[in-house]
């Protein structure tokens, strides 16, 4: 999908939104699968987001400075007997970008309704 400069594609908006939601729920840091699960639940999707789609989008968001990531302390993972997680958190820029996108979407909604009514 081609994007307009300075805008986010839907999956990126969804990820940021899920990240903010997880943070509000008490998990300021989240891993990839947690986002996939959150997206499935929030959007009532039938399937979990594909690996490639999810991690590519996470990578783009990190590159844009909207997310930051770190690898989890190996001792924590070892104590829980699971692989190390890559933990992400939404930056202030990420929150601002999400707010902008949501405002843009909200503004576009009545316009779309008007266009629909006119046609």
């Amino acid at each position: 999908m081609r994007r307009k400069p300075g805008t986010l594609v839907p999956i990126e908006v969804s990820i940021l939104s899920a990240g903010v939601s997880l943070a509000l729920g008490g998990s300021p840091e989240f891993h990839g699968y947690a986002v996939a699960r959150e997206l499935k639940e929030r959007e009532e999707a039938r399937r979990l987001t594909a690996h490639g789609t999810l991690y590519r989008a996470l990578g783009r968001l990190e590159e844009a400075g909207l997310l930051l990531s770190r690898l989890e302390d190996p001792e924590v993972a070892a104590a829980e007997q699971r692989p190390r997680r890559r933990l992400y958190h939404v930056t202030a820029e990420g929150e601002a970008a999400l707010a902008t996108e949501q405002a843009r979407a909200a503004a576009a909604q009545p316009q779309l309704r008007r266009q629909g009514a006119a046609s």
Partner: protein
């Protein structure tokens, strides 16, 4: 409660890991390892999470397969965007050394088993006649095979020296010198065998009796050189085995095998003229031990060591 599982087993997780390794091939170590780690973690979380919901393993596998397959176009796009089409394949030294050891099984067996005749037979003329009756193509093929193996051994040993001599200078240098000598002997043997094959063709054409004596000289030379080859190979592999243990690349107990091979060859060389057939037992035992060592250590180096363990050294921030 979460399942205490380090890594979800099964065909789909294996397939996913394979796919990740494939599309990450040639990327920088950091990017590759982080991606592998991230997908490994995702698979684990996915299986643990869905298991808690009492979803059957088969259904989770189908779901995981779908996630992998649907993400393929994005994976490819990500790979191209990340580092372009550039592929800089860097196999770890351990893996290549493992491949080399597995390859060395071939010259080790072939170098000591020049086929087609037996100089120990009392009736050499009859044996040479039998050798002559072998198809010319078969004899040429054997010579060519030995020559190729000789060159490949020398090339492999040269790589080994270039890659590892800085880690254990003396032992690697001695090991490589002995193995290179074995490779060279194989080349000489291939040339002698080819010459003997030419004599066999001449004998078939004209039945010149003098050719039989000359051929026996060649055959005995090949046999003596095969002994020298066995000695050089087993000593070289013993040095290499010691070096690999010192470098912590293979377990300590594996040294028993090349040591047995080395002792077997020495016993064969020293006791052979006196004890004859009994000495063959020593060399046979030694050969089996060395072949076993090449196989075990080759597989150990090629597949051993967890990639995830090496990830422990990664920095916390990416």
């Amino acid at each position: 409660m979460r399942a205490a599982l380090a890594s979800p087993p099964g065909v789909v997780p294996g397939l996913t890991r394979l796919w990740v390794r494939l599309y990450c091939m040639g990327m920088s170590e950091q990017a590759r390892v982080v991606r592998l780690l991230e997908i490994e973690s995702d698979l684990w979380e996915h299986f643990a999470d869905r298991s808690m919901e009492r979803i059957s393993p088969a259904a989770i596998n189908v779901e995981a397969l779908g996630r992998m397959l649907r993400g393929v176009p994005s994976d490819i796009a990500w790979r191209i965007q990340a580092e372009g089409f550039h592929v800089n394949i860097q196999f770890p030294v351990e893996r290549l050394a493992g491949l080399l050891l597995l390859f060395l099984i071939v010259p080790f067996i072939a170098g000591t088993a020049i086929s087609g005749y037996d100089t120990g037979r009392t009736e050499w003329p009859g044996e040479f006649l039998r050798f002559s009756e072998m198809s010319s193509r078969s004899r040429e093929g054997t010579a060519l095979l030995h020559g190729a193996i000789g060159w490949l051994t020398i090339a492999g040993v040269a790589w080994l020296y270039a890659t590892m001599h800085e880690r254990s200078p003396r032992l690697i240098a001695v090991a490589c010198a002995l193995l290179a000598a074995a490779g060279t002997i194989m080349l000489v043997n291939a040339a002698l065998y080819r010459a003997m094959s030419g004599l066999a063709d001449g004998f078939t054409a004209g039945s010149d009796a003098s050719l039989v004596t000359t051929a026996r000289g060649f055959a005995l030379s090949v046999e003596a050189l095969s002994m020298a080859n066995a000695s050089a190979t087993t000593s070289g592999l013993f040095c290499l085995g010691t070096a690999l243990i010192r470098l912590g690349m293979v377990p300590r107990w594996t040294l028993v095998l090349p040591a047995a091979g080395f002792v077997g060859t020495i016993l064969w060389t020293v006791l052979g003229p006196v004890f004859g057939d009994a000495a063959w037992l020593a060399i046979t035992f030694g050969f089996i031990a060395v072949a076993l060592w090449l196989l075990i250590c080759g597989i150990w180096l090629l597949f051993g060591g967890s990639k995830l363990q090496s990830m422990k050294g990664l920095p916390a921030h990416t």
